[in-house]
């Protein structure tokens, strides 16, 4: 079967290393049965793959499945067809962001995180917590309050980020990578 290269399916197959293995999905449900986030996903990974094959691209990209994926790789190590499911989840997040079709704020979490990495070269847990929670879960953030305090008091949260020396070098590398990624 030739696939529309711009469909969700087509892009997984052409852009993702090992993505072509998705063609051999047996619909066995091993992934869906194994996933720790499965009960809270609106579609199990297996179901999502059936929807991808059926061309229901919009519904696929609006699904919370891949946002609830915690990258535990359990599905990947158990899939009887060796389909790189976790990587497909990453790729679907990527596609959903590009299509502007995401429904959760997990994206912002990831983007805040990445922003720190790009600025400092290191992750910055305290900054992440404040920036992310204050922007998205003012209430959740409050609940987090005592927890953050407890961690602070035990020296487990740094109030200032650590910065690596060669931030410029790192940024050059990342910018170059983005450029290469964009040229496809």
């Amino acid at each position: 079967m030739t696939l529309n290269p711009n469909s969700v399916y087509g892009r997984i197959i052409s852009e993702l290393h090992g993505g072509e293995k998705l063609r051999s999905c047996l619909q066995c449900g091993m992934c869906g049965g194994s996933c720790p986030s499965g009960p809270d996903m609106d579609h199990t990974p297996r179901k999502l793959f059936a929807m991808i094959a059926a061309g229901q691209d919009d519904e696929v990209l609006r699904s919370n499945t891949f946002w609830y994926c915690v990258s535990c790789y359990l599905c990947t190590v158990r899939c009887p067809q060796e389909i790189p499911i976790t990587d497909i989840m990453y790729h679907l997040k990527h596609q959903a962001i590009q299509a502007g079709l995401y429904t959760t704020d997990a994206v912002d979490f990831s983007e805040t995180f990445i922003g720190h990495v790009e600025n400092y070269g290191r992750a910055f847990e305290f900054g992440l917590a404040t920036q992310f929670y204050l922007a998205h879960h003012p209430l959740g953030g409050l609940k987090m309050g005592p927890m953050a305090l407890a961690m602070l008091s035990r020296g487990r949260l740094n109030l200032r980020p650590t910065r690596i020396k060669a931030v410029r070098q790192l940024r050059n590398i990342l910018n170059k990578a983005k450029e290469i990624g964009a040229r496809g």
Binding site: W67, L74, Y90, I114, V117, G121, R122
Partner: protein
């Protein structure tokens, strides 16, 4: 043997206890760790979701730096860092196009990396398989007798492409803890996921997962859960209070690093092992240990009618 050491971002903040005890234990076992100079964050699980090539390049920079320091193996105590390092190295080897793209990006920072030249190792792997559990237990001066410790590996050991232990039923930490003198029950959720970043974006989902993990450990009579990953520690420890108020439970399960427990058994002072960093206090567990005297385990009697039990595969000693 000399290893490059990749502490990971959490070493500087939330998991400084792990970092400190890892270095103490390594020194006691004669492992020479040389921190990668000016290493950067591995991107955790977040970077791959947004853009994959920069994510690969980010990790590859660390591998390149390790290579430049002249080491062929890098130790990561954090499982997520370990998986990222390993995955990037292996994928670059498997996919030539990816390899050349990543190297093109690295070149913008005057770096290069040859796949396969720096092997990522988890600290647990090096301790159990290079030093050896037997060698460790020979060094034990204060056995952990009297303590029931549940080994919790988390999901990243052996994933995604298979690592140093069985993916589903790993044994290394079990063997290590038994070698330290602890009682180690067969904890069937040992390689289940701790919820990862779910605690932050879908708290309810995560709390459910965490509850299952702690619940089974409690049922097995655990005095503590022993982990090998800062993310596992953070989720199980820091969210335990919230979980209790959410479900109306009363768990007080200390979540400790295996390096802390090793350090104890190797004779280091508890006060120096940063147990106080845990939100759930480890005090009761430590007191119990100090009070305990090694007492033999009661053996369950089998009925005459019982059918034979199959032997585990490679003579492992689970169950």
């Amino acid at each position: 043997m000399k290893y490059a050491y990749y502490p990971g971002c959490s070493a500087e903040s939330s998991a400084s206890a792990y970092d400190a005890t890892s270095q103490m234990v390594a020194a006691a076992l004669g492992l020479e760790l040389e921190e990668i100079k000016d290493w950067n964050c591995c991107g955790a699980t977040e970077y791959f979701s947004i853009d994959s090539l920069p994510a690969y390049a980010l990790v590859a920079r660390n591998l390149a730096l390790a290579g430049r320091q002249g080491t062929s193996e890098v130790i990561a105590p954090c499982s997520a860092c370990y998986v990222n390092l390993k995955k990037v190295d292996e994928r670059m080897g498997d996919y030539p196009q990816l390899n050349s793209d990543v190297n093109e990006a690295l070149a913008a920072g005057n770096l290069s990396y040859t796949p396969g030249s720096v092997r990522a190792r988890h600290l647990l792997d090096v301790i159990c398989n290079e030093v050896g559990c037997d060698a460790v237990s020979e060094k034990v001066v204060r056995p952990l007798a009297g303590l029931t410790l549940v080994p919790y590996y988390g999901c990243y050991i052996g994933r995604p492409e298979g690592g140093f232990d069985d993916v589903e039923n790993p044994q290394t930490l079990d063997r290590l803890l038994k070698g330290l003198g602890a009682t180690v029950p067969d904890y069937s959720l040992k390689s289940s996921c701790c919820g990862g970043h779910m605690t932050q974006i879908g708290t309810e989902v995560a709390l459910g997962i965490l509850r299952g993990l702690i619940d089974l450990a409690a049922k097995l009579g655990a005095d503590a859960m022993v982990v090998a990953c800062p993310m596992c520690q953070l989720n199980l420890d820091v969210y335990q209070n919230q979980l209790n108020s959410h479900f109306g439970t009363t768990y007080r399960m200390p979540i400790v690093y295996f390096t802390q427990m090793m350090a104890l058994a190797l004779g280091m002072e508890a006060a120096e092992l940063k147990f106080e960093e845990g939100l759930v206090p480890a005090g009761p567990m430590l007191e119990k240990w100090q009070a305990a005297e090694a007492s033999p385990q009661p053996r369950k009697k089998k009925s005459k009618k019982a059918l034979p039990m199959p032997e585990p595969l490679d003579g492992g000693d689970s169950g």
